[in-house]
Subunit: 391 residues, 2 copies
């Protein structure tokens, strides 16, 4: 089992004294610039061409300024293209909650480091599920903030219209402390929502055992929020939304990486290269359709989840798959995971994955989704729910 940290000399940058995150340690996914260290991006041929940054990424600086101490850079799927966390160059970080299973990706090392209690929180990125999926698989709190909410300066981009910076924590209190700093907004009980939508299509797409295992969490959430109703997250089909996102996101990723590929002909895992090759062939007509579907999906969520309402759904359709499966076995799993994750990149809504559920001994997360900008309210729900559960 592999360390969650990238190879290299030990990293330690002390946080500013007296800040609100004093005493906390954090790690940053190797997509975030840390001054003086190469940004590896999970690929041996990325840092070779990209200069060592001279400034910290915005999110790193923000946590340091608030008093948290940086203790390492963490393994990521190659240039964030992956959802399982198996990186043949840097290694596959241990999932301590499910040894022998993948940690989830692409923020694999950040989730692993927090889950292994090597740090209190860790920065990840979420374009198509890269914080939410490892949070679910490792049994952590994890957030994909509203798209555009956090400053992404110094973060290696993938698909800019979907890219976000998120973070992990083992407990809701730490999760909320970090949220107050990165969102620059207090987490207050008064922001709790009053309506809960249970996304029946999302529960339907999950494995039956996973959907059933999440019901106690749904009931606690229902009790906390009050009014509950069932509805569809994606009336055209979660697979149709996923198809739109799997058109828009890879095409943008191709735009982001094609000059690097052409110039450096880098080493890549076959599945990553295959994805990029497929992306390069996405026709304009498909992209036009996907852009229209994105507009419709945004309108759907604006209507379905207005301020004061949250939606709940399984973060992933099942717990972490085993490590080392063949591509033919993994491909349908990846596709099914995407069906539950695509709405994030497609619409930009914030989402928090909540731990606390276990299927056959493996963790799986329940997600809450809110209106754009309701990030603090989602974190408040996470904290309130944790307090309820402690009683």
């Amino acid at each position: 089992m592999t360390s969650p940290f990238v190879a290299g000399p030990p990293v330690r940058i002390a946080g500013a004294p007296g800040g609100p995150l004093g005493g906390l340690s954090f790690a940053a996914k190797d997509l975030f610039d840390v001054a003086g260290l190469p940004t590896g991006g999970g690929n041996p041929d990325w840092a070779r061409r990209h200069p060592v940054p001279t400034r910290h990424a915005w999110a790193v600086q923000r946590l340091l300024d608030a008093g948290a101490t940086l203790i390492g850079k963490t393994i990521t799927d190659e240039v964030s293209l992956g959802i399982l966390g198996e990186n043949p160059f840097d290694g596959t970080p241990l999932n301590p909650a499910a040894p022998g299973h993948v940690p989830g990706g692409s923020s694999s090392g950040s989730a692993s480091a927090v889950a292994q209690e090597l740090c209190d929180t860790a920065l990840g990125t979420d374009t198509g599920g890269s914080v939410r999926v490892p949070a679910s698989f490792c049994g952590l709190y994890g957030i994909r903030p509203t798209h555009g909410r956090l400053d992404l300066t110094g973060m290696l981009p993938q698909a800019p219209s979907s890219d976000t910076t998120g973070w992990f924590a083992r407990d809701a209190e730490t999760f909320a402390r970090v949220a107050e700093v990165l969102l620059d907004e207090p987490i207050v009980p008064s922001s709790l929502p009053t309506t809960l939508v249970v996304a029946v299509d999302a529960f339907g797409l999950a494995e039956a055992q996973t959907a059933a295992a999440l019901q106690p969490m749904v009931r606690r959430l229902s009790a906390l929020v009050g009014y509950v109703r069932e509805d569809l997250l994606a009336p055209p089909g979660l697979s149709v939304w996923a198809r739109a996102q799997r058109t828009l996101q890879p095409w943008e990723a191709w735009q982001t990486f094609k000059d690097w590929l052409d110039r450096d002909n880098p080493r890549l895992q076959f599945s990553v290269a295959r994805g990029l090759v497929a992306a390069s062939a996405i026709p304009e007509s498909e992209r036009q359709w996907a852009a229209l579907m994105r507009a419709e999906a945004r309108a759907r969520l604006a209507w379905l989840v207005p301020p004061g309402t949250i939606l709940c759904m399984p973060t992933t359709p099942f717990p972490a798959p085993r490590r080392g499966l063949s591509l033919a076995t993994l491909e349908p799993l990846r596709a099914r995971i995407s069906c539950l994750a695509a709405h994030g990149g497609l619409t930009g809504v914030p989402q928090v994955s909540l731990p606390g559920t276990v299927v056959d001994g493996l963790p799986v997360g329940l997600s809450i989704v809110g209106a754009p900008g309701s990030d603090a309210a989602l974190v408040a729900v996470a904290r309130a729910l944790a307090m309820e559960m402690r009683r």
Copy 2:
């Protein structure tokens, strides 16, 4: 500049005493099994899955039995998929005749080792030009034997209907000594051809400067053979034959490697992965067309180059390109190289590349092509021409 040998402990297996190749040293491309050493295939994830061989490949055993001493395993393009010799895992071997330029591939290290005088001869493989192109770029003798002539046991396959084992030498005498052993046939002057066909389409496809530089060699060859006429190698177009070969060969390579790709999801250079992905999508209708074109190409060569006739053509359309060019720059160069190499894999005819020509200080080869089975006659021409040139 990188060593032509793969990393690892020094290799030395002495040849049998008293054989015809006594005193000669040789290297073997890392696609040939050497008992007790991993067969790396130019990729870090190949040997991991494939057991260390317990027997030497046929060609290795044959050279050892004849008295030659094995002194190393040489770098190859990944699983022989490449024509330039730039391997990001094992390194790009030095082309001592053209420093700063590629050595050619995929038998890059074998050509480099011989050109650097680190050994007398070296085994390569040629499916789509992998001996002929590095021979041309490094200024060496190199042979692609008749398809099916040599036993390929213990050689990592790529596209079996085109795969061959070949070898390199700096001088015609050594080249012929090795030929007698591997072909199991004496190289005798009585086998010299009596008709020379100059392939005007092939010279037309070469760069004008290269075609012009090769004329003195063509004149010496004409003087040696006697009767000379001009004709087309490929009436439908060399690019049409190349299209057929670039349909058949990658499809077979996909069949060879797809289970490995699925099971191990290996690291690959982007261009190699891209080629395999493209191969996986080649439709049945294209393959049917290409198979018909292969039959027509074989018939064309049987008529054009009967026993007693040889054809001459540039081995490559130009000398070695510079190292480190972008994929967008290399792609048209690769395609043009393929136009002059495709007839080999397509029809199975033997071909020898002859050194001795230089363009702007860089070597380029003149090739002679014969009827299937005329391998020894081509080697005899190479030796006779070298003797003429020494006078």
